[in-house]
């Protein structure tokens, strides 16, 4: 972890591990503060951080939106959001401490007056709350507004701090919809903010389990020797959702699941699973290794045989009747957008050559689950009869990212009894059992990291661009060839996906 220069503080000591990392004096500005994300995730995360004593005294929150609100109205909105969604119990004194720092700036993004007001609000907070000119701008707005907002910030001198104070920009996915648009977006943001001051939120990376991939791989000795082509048969990375597109028709149609999920979440999980050991645990070393893994990714030659996309149709999902994608409100009935995508990738390096990585994601699948399954090769020789081992599958190590976070190892064990019969059993480590209730929400961790300036858990622009470079040829191929195959809502995706693995002599795990 990169620690800011605190060496001269006599009260800090590396030995003293009880003292938490508290962010320095700072504030947060949220654009699009009326949105869902802001109410359900950001505001509760700010409160939870304050409740855990991790925010600096005087931390301030500025909301910016097109509403005719006073500070008090804003405060009430945050209050309701916190009461409803916060993870930790509501405490009046924490709330009081926080609420003193709430400000609201009404206005449109093109409105110069509003940004002038924002600037004076920031200056006022520096004076009354001691935020020290350090502000993070959270752009919780659709990407088409990014250029306007960052240009406005620049024009009003908000994008650069005075002296050694900092200004940071936080942006949410989507980071473009192909390589060209991603580069354009990066250019727009980097014109105003330095690349190291731009934090791209991929909330998956804030999850404890994802961080645990690194601990599992690099803090233990028993897994790493097996973590290569000599022992691993293939890797499956799954992110399944049981929900449909909900109210996101406008965003989703034309984007599809591959761009929405594979490009960022799944390729990040792939990079963390496949990368070599970083030289250290700081942002730069991590990016270097992740980039190396991503640049080594090779697409299959025949995209038609090794990629599949699907679209859900009317069906029953978990006991409720749900409509098909084309029947969803606001969707073009002729839409070719994929709600399911499965692709096969290979990583061309010494560790992974010849080991396929199967990535799949979809909406309205059997249940909500995200997991990484490393499936090992069969034992090269078995002293047992084939009848004894009939029910023995391949060993597997499964990292469950959500829900029910944990790690499962599957291996063969003798069934008690007189005959020799070997069957798969699982050994399970559940976060919920060993570290109950202490897991902070992903957004808590990520917001705190933004304020601390710790970029470990944020994808850098090179990674984003590299991911598009992987996905773009697939999207182009899909555009030109055929249309998504239909699958019934509530099942595990189209038949073609099963056939795609069957061709390689493998099958999907049922997560």
């Amino acid at each position: 972890m990169s620690e800011p220069a605190r060496g001269d503080n006599p009260l800090r000591d590396a030995q003293d591990r009880r003292l938490p990392r508290i962010a320095g004096p700072s504030g947060l500005v949220i654009f699009g503060v009326t949105g869902d994300l802001s109410r359900k995730k950001l505001m509760p995360a700010v409160y939870d951080l304050a409740n855990r004593g991790l925010l600096p005294p005087g931390f301030s929150l500025i909301g910016f939106a097109r509403r005719d609100w006073e500070d008090e109205d804003f405060s009430q909105v945050v209050h309701d959001a916190v009461k409803e969604h916060a993870r930790t119990p509501f405490r009046e004194e924490v709330w009081q401490q926080l609420a003193e720092g709430f400000r609201f700036v009404p206005g449109e993004f093109s409105d110069d007056e509003a940004f002038k007001l924002l600037k004076s609000t920031i200056e006022e907070l520096d004076g009354t709350r001691g935020t020290g000119g350090n502000f993070a701008f959270y752009l919780s707005v659709p990407p088409k507004f990014f250029p306007t907002v960052v240009q406005q910030l620049k024009r009003h001198g908000l994008s650069e701090g005075q002296g050694d104070s900092w200004r940071r920009a936080v942006i949410e996915k989507p980071f473009g919809h192909d390589l060209a648009s991603a580069q354009e977006l990066n250019q727009v943001v980097h014109q105003v903010f330095r690349p190291s001051d731009v934090f791209r939120i991929d909330h998956y990376l804030g999850k404890e389990t994802v961080q645990n991939i690194l601990a599992l791989r690099f803090a233990n000795t028993m897994f790493e020797p097996l973590w290569n082509r000599s022992y691993v048969d293939h890797v499956q990375i799954t992110m399944a959702e049981d929900i449909g597109i909900g109210g996101r028709a406008g965003y989703y149609d034309g984007i599809g699941s591959a761009r929405d999920v594979i490009q960022n979440h799944l390729l990040q999980l792939l990079a963390l699973t496949a990368m070599e050991e970083p030289a250290s645990f700081d942002a730069k070393a991590l990016v270097t290794e992740k980039l190396k893994a991503l640049t080594a990714v090779k697409l299959p030659n025949d995209l038609g045989r090794h990629t599949v996309r699907g679209q859900y149709t009317h069906g029953w999902q978990g006991g409720t009747e749900v409509c098909g994608y084309l029947e969803e409100e606001g969707i073009d009935p002729a839409s070719k957008t994929d709600t399911y995508a499965a692709i096969k990738l290979e990583i061309d390096n010494r560790r992974w050559a010849g080991v396929p990585f199967y990535l799949r994601t979809g909406k309205r699948l059997g249940r909500r689950v995200t997991e990484i399954a490393v499936v090992f090769q069969r034992a090269p020789y078995s002293p047992f009869d084939t009848t004894d081992t009939q029910e023995l599958g391949q060993n597997a190590l499964v990292i469950r990212v959500q829900p029910d976070e944990g790690v499962t190892i599957r291996f063969g064990s003798k069934v008690p009894g007189t005959s020799m019969e070997i069957r798969d059993v699982t050994m399970d480590f559940a976060y919920g059992e060993s570290f109950t209730e202490s897991s902070p929400e992903a957004y808590e961790r990520l917001l705190l990291d933004v304020l601390l300036g710790d970029a470990n858990l944020f994808p850098r622009h090179q990674e984003v661009e590299e991911s598009w470079r992987i996905l773009d040829p697939i999207e182009t191929y899909w555009d030109k060839h055929g249309k998504p195959e239909e699958y019934t809502a509530g099942t595990w995706g189209p038949k073609a996906a099963d056939q795609m693995l069957a061709r390689d002599g493998r099958s999907w795990r049922r997560p």
Partner: protein, 384 residues
């Protein structure tokens, strides 16, 4: 489910635990540690309640050792073990065993506890009150990676701190220390924001509140400045003041929940600093099981040296004021080294103590008295 066992043995308790686990349908549990609570009939309820609450964060096997030595000589001669096994339900996420040790058995608790420890998992012993004088030497304490005492629960908390310092063994820790973590983190954050040299400090809190002393010890040890202990009405700690050249950094908590942080050149701000429940303290203790070296150096600093000017080894530090503040860093490094040497060669360490005491006495009369004693200490240490 609950299983009551009368006149039993550890192995029967073990099979009852397995039986209870099977019956509740959770044969595999991810318990991370064994928590042994040593207490008596009157206090076990509260302690167990706190532990169950904490076990939500750290699933554990909780062994409650309740000693019942008996009053009459006949009672004292018998030795009987009664146990109550609780799994699932109200007992938190782990398993709880109440062990009642009658008669002579009450002085052989370790023989009952040893077979019941979880394999390969760390052991924590907690004495909610009446801790042994030397926890690290105690037969139960020896089983543990971490020994938790509570100076607050003793009759003379300040004297207890001295005892804890004398008998400190790596792995010891005290709830009076745990209670001040939020204070310490806010104070550290305050100095993160303002890199000023602190010249003196004061800690204000209730009488008989060892946390106030510990916070003072920590400040004195880290900053190398005299720390004054002031008594207030409470509740608990009420204020900490750090004097710097620019003015006073003051963290003031009058009502036990919301504190005010005042820093020179900066607006006053509110900080939530509520007094925490025992369960939260235990949960914090269980989070890290390695020796708490910061606690060790704070408690070893010695309450007697508190109000005094920095002792001989430290008077070279910038604390003395006018003298060459530029040499501050070097002096501090020196003082640390000397401090370590001090434990090996008592002569260097004990020498300034008498001076320190007189300084403290003078200090209660007025700040100026203290200032004079310091240079004297320098001279005497130098002449040695």
């Amino acid at each position: 489910m609950n299983i009551d066992l009368t006149d039993t043995t550890s192995s029967r308790i073990n099979s009852a635990l397995v039986q209870a686990r099977r019956a509740t349908g959770t044969p595999a549990v991810g318990m991370v540690l064994t928590l042994v609570i040593v207490t008596d009939e009157g206090n076990h309820y509260d302690a167990l309640k706190a532990a169950s609450e904490a076990s939500k964060e750290h699933p554990s096997r909780t062994l409650v050792v309740i000693r019942r030595p008996g009053r009459s000589p006949r009672d004292r001669k018998i030795a009987r073990l009664d146990a109550e096994v609780r799994v699932g339900g109200d007992s938190g996420t782990g398993e709880t065993v109440l062990l009642r040790l009658h008669g002579e058995l009450s002085s052989h608790a370790h023989s009952v506890v040893l077979p019941l420890l979880l394999p390969d998992a760390p052991v924590v012993v907690w004495w909610p009150e009446d801790a042994p004088d030397h926890p690290g030497d105690d037969l139960l304490g020896q089983l543990a990676a971490r020994r938790i005492t509570d100076a607050q629960a003793t009759e003379d908390p300040v004297a207890t701190l001295g005892l804890r310092a004398d008998t400190y063994t790596p792995g010891d820790t005290d709830l009076a220390w745990t209670r001040i973590t939020p204070w310490r983190s806010v104070l550290a954050a305050a100095l993160d924001q303002k890199h000023a040299t602190v010249t003196s400090a004061s800690v204000e809190g209730e009488a008989y509140n060892p946390s106030s002393e510990l916070l003072g010890l920590w400040l004195a040890e880290r900053l190398g400045v005299p720390v004054e202990r002031q008594v207030s009405e409470g509740p608990g700690l009420t204020a900490v003041r750090l004097e710097t050249a620019d003015g006073t950094i003051c963290l003031d908590r009058a009502d036990g929940s919301l504190a005010e942080l005042a820093m020179p050149g900066q607006p006053d701000r509110h900080v939530a600093l509520h007094r925490r429940e025992t369960s939260e303290l235990i949960a914090e203790e269980l989070r890290r099981l390695d020796p708490d070296e910061t606690y060790a150096s704070a408690v070893k600093y010695g309450v007697a040296r508190l109000g005094s000017k920095a002792p001989a080894a430290r008077t070279k530090a910038p604390a003395t004021g006018g003298k060459a503040p530029a040499a501050g860093n070097k002096a501090k490094a020196d003082s640390v080294r000397i401090d370590q040497a001090g434990t090996a060669a008592p002569a260097a360490g004990t020498e300034p103590a008498p001076d320190g005491n007189s300084g403290a006495d003078g200090g209660s009369g007025g700040g100026s008295g203290k200032k004079k004693s310091a240079p004297q200490a320098v001279k005497r240490a130098a002449s040695k």
